[in-house]
């Protein structure tokens, strides 16, 4: 044993005797993690958050969160001798005079965009595979908390450099706050410390951005990951995978190596982007001044859906009631629309459990096609989100595709109402179609294209039956039936309490599960085989059912 090894062992022993760490580490190291690329999306979010903290720490060393007016001297030439806030000037100084400053700023901003993109794709993965079902509903809610604070982090950071573009964003925020009935104008004065823009908002946003919001995110990530460990990770359906086991790699060493390596991949990609692709070059926009607004003024992508809903809303919906203004033209797009989106996300797991009468634990994920209505709803909301984001870019669409911005706006107004329904309908049809195809395959096997003529002159095409793994994937799912509604009156003819409520739930349940394709049952399979036994000319031998040689099976 070398000296270092001895020292390491000594330290470990010391810690173990005092904390019992050894047992915990051993336990933890043997935890099994299933492997799939889509399980790494959460990690992309996690790692970009780590990179946000590291690069953000560097930025705080040079940024001055002050709105005091000074004359800027130095690079770039377009800003030399211009009056501006210290915040803006220090951002320029950091970009042009601090070694690596611009690189760090750009990495930080790209990481922010990537963070939000990773959160959204991660959430899509969790939604479409049903990973939010019992026992993970609470973790889904923590996730939504992370999504919302992530938006908050982006918003507070975006405004800090005090440039024209971010100032336009603050101006819109001010408008949204003021549109809140009754308390709006008081709130605005409260937030900005006087009339917009005032001198307080940048220092206030700074404190939120570097202290409050990251602390909340950090705490919630801790909770989130703790729950992932507690629940153990879900797994995709497949032979040998049940709600009772976990098939995958032990955390140590395989998963740790993979996950640790992946951190550096994320860091590498972000460094590459920060080093080669310009982002938010604030000196192009100039120091904030409430009068100018440049063409192509948009927020970062994750806020674009709000910009889009504001752009789509007709301006005539502003009303005067006595001396008060009711700005529905701002309230509806900026408060109601995101309200609908977040309410859907928050209540969905509970609504689905209710209409499914589902109280079981789920550790095997759904294939999206096997839950057509859920998949359809998810795609419908995504469609609305994308239409709104596109509407927020209507000017760029107009110039790049030589279209009229007025016409585009009208098309999007209509699409916002028609598109999601259409997307829902198409997605649901596609899911049902895929399920039917699965049934076909299980019952009749793969087409081989080989035609055989029998002595009696009969032609048949040879079908190759599915192997056990393929079949498991296609039959091991539930197709819940709609809730049964008990009669309106009980046995003695007395009207039941709560009947109306039950009827509403039953109706919703019918919406979810009326159209369904049942999985093939063993007896159906046997019948199909008896009927088509002469198909199996070459007896494809079913492989033994096991979870794979290199993998590791653990208990729930």
């Amino acid at each position: 044993m070398s000296t270092t090894e001895r020292a390491a062992a000594g330290t470990a022993d010391y810690l173990d005797q005092r904390t019992g760490l050894g047992k915990a580490v051993k336990e933890f190291a043997r935890k099994t993690f299933p492997d799939h690329w889509s399980f790494l999306l959460g990690e992309v979010a996690l790692y970009s958050f780590v990179i946000l903290i590291l690069s953000g720490f560097f930025l705080t060393m040079f940024f001055v969160p002050s709105m005091a007016l000074i004359e800027h001297h130095g690079a770039p030439a377009t800003m030399d001798g211009v009056l501006m806030s210290e915040a803006f000037s220090s951002t320029l100084h950091m970009s042009f005079d601090v070694r690596g400053g611009l690189l760090m700023r750009q990495i930080h901003h790209w990481a922010a965009l990537l963070f939000m993109a990773a959160i959204v794709t991660h959430m899509m993965r969790v939604f479409f595979t049903g990973a939010f079902r019992k026992p993970r509903e609470l973790n889904w809610l923590v996730g939504i908390g992370l999504l919302i604070t992530g938006l908050g982090a982006g918003f507070t950071g975006y405004s800090l450099p005090d440039d024209v573009l971010s100032g336009n964003g603050l101006r819109i925020t001010d408008g949204v706050i003021k549109s809140i009935p009754i308390i709006g104008s008081y709130m605005s004065y409260f937030v900005f410390g006087g009339e917009f823009p005032g001198e307080d908002i940048i220092p206030r946003l700074f404190t939120l951005h570097i202290l409050v919001v990251p602390a909340i995110i950090l705490a919630m990530i801790g909770l989130h990951l703790m729950m992932v460990v507690l629940h153990k990770h879900t797994q995709y359906p497949g032979g040998g995978r049940t709600d009772k086991n976990v098939v995958g790699f032990p955390l140590f060493p395989v998963y740790v190596a993979k996950a640790g390596g992946f951190f550096f991949v994320v860091f590498g990609v972000l460094a590459l982007m920060g080093g080669t692709m310009a982002i938010n070059n604030v000196w192009n926009y100039g120091p904030y001044d409430p009068s100018p607004v440049s063409a192509g003024a948009q927020p970062d992508w994750y806020m674009l859906f709000l910009e889009g809903s504001l752009r789509l809303m007709p301006g005539v919906t502003e009303y005067m009631i006595g001396d008060y203004t009711l700005s529905l033209n701002v309230l509806v797009p900026a408060v109601i629309i995101p309200g609908i989106l977040f309410t859907f996300l928050i209540v969905y797991p509970f609504v689905e459990a209710r209409v499914t009468k589902d109280k079981r634990e789920h550790h095997v994920l759904d294939r999206p096609r096997n839950v057509p209505v859920r998949t359809g709803l998810g795609v419908a909301f995504l469609t609305a989100f994308i239409i709104l984001a596109l509407a927020g870019s209507n000017d760029l669409i107009a110039t790049h595709f030589s279209l009229s911005i007025n016409e585009i706006t009208w098309v999007f107004r209509i699409l916002l109402f028609v598109g999601p329904w259409f997307a829902f309908w198409v997605t649901k049809r596609i899911c049902l179609g895929l399920q039917r195809k699965d049934r076909e395959l299980v019952l009749h096997g793969h087409e081989t294209g080989r035609i055989v003529r029998f002595a009696n002159g009969e032609y048949i095409e040879v079908h190759r039956p599915l192997d056990e793994q393929e079949r498991w994937l296609r039959v091991a799912y539930d197709a819940p039936t709609p809730l049964e509604l008990e009669p309106q009156t009980d046995a003695r003819g007395v009207p039941r309490k709560g009947y109306k409520k039950e009827r509403r739930w039953a109706r919703l349940s019918r919406f979810f599960y009326e159209d369904r394709i049942e999985p093939v049952t063993p007896s159906e399979l046997a019948a199909a085989h008896a009927h088509g036994s002469h198909d199996e000319l070459e007896g494809a031998k079913a492989p033994e059912l096991h979870a794979g040689d290199t993998t590791h099976e653990g208990d729930r």
Partner: protein
């Protein structure tokens, strides 16, 4: 350049420059007036050739005496600068009936353009074609130009001049393309082509116009931060974050995931 820049910061430099500019303008005016186009092109012969070109190429729309119709503006008093801008940028003679006249390869060479300009200028006085010195970006101050651009131009042309949308399919074109010449930038401010307002010399002084040119030239040098991604702002940045950032990482994740089974 360094020395020049240093001297420009002298306290008296603006005064001296202003005096020089005034002298130059006065002298030039004396030399050139009433000839509106470039130095020696205002001969009657040029005007006559210009008229012939006009009758052949422009009169169908602008009318035989250039007084316009209900749909086409009169050219009396638009000046040589307007003609030089429209013809050298290929917008005139106009072809398709789109929402606005668009830039095409110029149909006339410099001499013919000057002759057309001379003819139109002879119909009524208007802004003249600027001199090379008036449009020289090296003599302008990009910082003042940026401020002028921000308040007057950015709302249509985008913060760095990458272009933007107007109503009904009209648009403010990009100013970053190499074929947008410094002279055309000056003339556009002076004459307000298509939907653009006129910025006369009281609005934006000739010096400030030159500063704006200096600012735009500065933008063409590219971005300090790397690829400019079209200078279109957060929408293109978001698109690239998804395509390059998340695209590469999902690729990597699939690769890592694939190693398992």
């Amino acid at each position: 350049m360094k020395a020049l820049a240093a001297r420009r910061h002298h306290r008296l430099a603006p005064v001296v420059l202003l005096l020089l500019a005034l002298l130059a303008t006065g002298g030039l005016y004396a030399l050139l007036a009433p000839s509106p186009a470039s130095a020696d092109s205002a001969s009657t012969q040029d005007i006559e050739t210009g008229e012939k070109l006009f009758q052949a190429n422009c009169a169908t729309c602008h009318g035989p005496s250039a007084t316009g119709t209900d749909d086409v503006p009169s050219l009396v008093g638009v000046g040589a600068a307007a003609v030089d801008f429209q013809v050298s940028s290929g917008r005139m003679p106009m072809q398709s009936n789109g929402p606005q006249a668009i830039r095409k390869p110029a149909q006339f060479d410099a001499e013919q353009t000057a002759q057309l300009a001379a003819y139109v200028a002879s119909l009524g006085t208007g802004p003249t074609v600027p001199t090379d010195e008036q449009v020289d970006p090296a003599l302008g101050d990009p910082a003042t130009g940026a401020a002028v651009f921000r308040t007057n131009c950015a709302m249509c042309h985008n913060a760095v001049g990458a272009g933007g949308a107007l109503s009904e399919g009209k648009f403010a074109p990009s100013l970053l393309e190499a074929d947008v010449t410094d002279r055309q930038i000056y003339e556009a401010m002076q004459t307000g082509p298509q939907s653009m307002p006129v910025f006369n010399d009281a609005n934006i002084t000739p010096e400030e116009k030159r500063d704006v040119i200096a600012y735009i030239e500065e933008q063409r040098d590219g971005s300090a931060g790397g690829l400019s991604l079209g200078s279109l702002g957060p929408v293109s940045e978001g698109l690239w974050a998804w395509v390059v950032g998340l695209g590469l990482l999902i690729g990597a994740a699939v690769w890592i995931g694939a190693k398992s089974s």
